[in-house]
Amino acid sequence: MRLRIGAIAAALIVIPASAVSAADLDQLLDESREASYTAEQVITCSTPDGVRSGVVEIEQSGGSLHLSGEVEVVSGNGGWESVQGDSVVTSASVKAAETHIDPVYTVDDGSAHPFLDRKAGLYRLYVGDVLRGELIVDGGTGAMLSVVTYNEDGTVYCERRFIEFDPTPPVPSQSSLSGTGAIEPTDSVSTLPENLGDFQRLDIYQDDEGLVFAYYSDGFFSFAVFETPVVVTLEGATTVTFDRGAYVRSFTPGQAIYVWQTGAGGMAMIGDLPPDMHEAVLAALPAPSEPGLLQRLWRSLFG
């Protein structure tokens, strides 16, 4: 794999991008994961609930990211940890099953597209004829200097653009991320569907508290669906009504979060997929419903 990545990186540097045959999305993504750099990124997302934007400092090395904003986040290799001050706010660790995603996207021939005074290539992602993404890939490191994602109607959903980029590998993170206590994928039967449109269910997890969650991807966008026996709380959210009922929704820069109640408990969907995909995904999941009298009583008394 590294030889192949190296060959592609060399091709991006030496061969004019327009001469490269149709790019392989997986290879572009692999290169980006392996890149080591320090950068500052601006994120701007035009969501149905308003614009969400932010600036974040990034250090990436060894497949792990360290992001500094108001809250520091360290993520990579199956771990995630948010830190505020000297305290770990939340953390999680998971393992993944070996899965293969059927390709959904086609990527056009890269074209030269200098960015931040660096040699870079521009690649467009399509589903059929619909443009879904534009990637500007650094010719030297493979890092994605800019990622623009589109709604189905051609409007921009999110733009993530580096405004500073230093290809010098950062000092390795002192992250406490470890694989200890990682949740393993389960083979248990779940009501969560194996396919949601173009999205494939890659892994499903269940913890001791009865929380079940499944991870879906179409090869570029991804989301997780959570089923819990208790209610999911989401602050600062708005209520949105689709054909199947009312959902509580919130957007962060780059992520959409939906929360709703079902007769069995609570559900949530979190992911980076564009808003035009949301309703179709939610429509294939258990619909919102108010719990029955006995369920409310049971939950109130016993949680």
Binding site: G76, A92, M144, S222, V232, G254
Partner: protein
């Protein structure tokens, strides 16, 4: 007519026939002592009936236990009714009080973030920064 003490008691108990009542009152009209006795007996009976009822401890008077049964039945009904009322109050209070059992989106975010970090498309775009939000409506 001899002193009608038993007739007076029977009258006060409502046990005399019409003719016996006529005979008794015929006697009382001419016997002041018997009339006073009947008044005194009536007063005593009224005073006794006005006294509060006391419940005998079980077993104190074995013969009376059978008479206590109806009172126990009443008490059981009252206890049951009280328990039902308490249950209804608890149920209503439980339903109008928000459940404390809940999970926050931050906890779910961490799981999604951990799994997304294993995604081939993992990168800055996949990392959730819940506090990094600047809303421009």
């Amino acid at each position: 007519m001899t002193h009608p003490g038993e007739l007076i008691s029977a009258y006060l108990d409502g046990e005399l026939s019409r003719s016996e009542i006529d005979q008794l009152f015929g006697h009382l009209a001419g016997c002041g002592r018997c009339a006073v006795e009947m008044q005194e007996l009536q007063a005593v009976r009224s005073a006794v009936r006005s006294l509060p009822l006391l419940e005998l401890p079980l077993g104190l008077v074995p013969e009376a236990d059978a008479e206590v049964v109806p009172l126990h039945r009443n008490r059981g009904f009252l206890v049951g009714a009280a328990a039902a009322i308490v249950a209804v109050v608890i149920a209503v209070a439980a339903m109008v009080t928000p459940s404390t059992a809940a999970i926050s989106v931050e906890e779910l975010n961490s799981r999604y973030g951990a799994r997304a970090s294993l995604d081939p498309a993992f990168g800055p775009a996949k990392v959730i920064l819940p506090q990094l939000m600047d809303t421009l409506e």
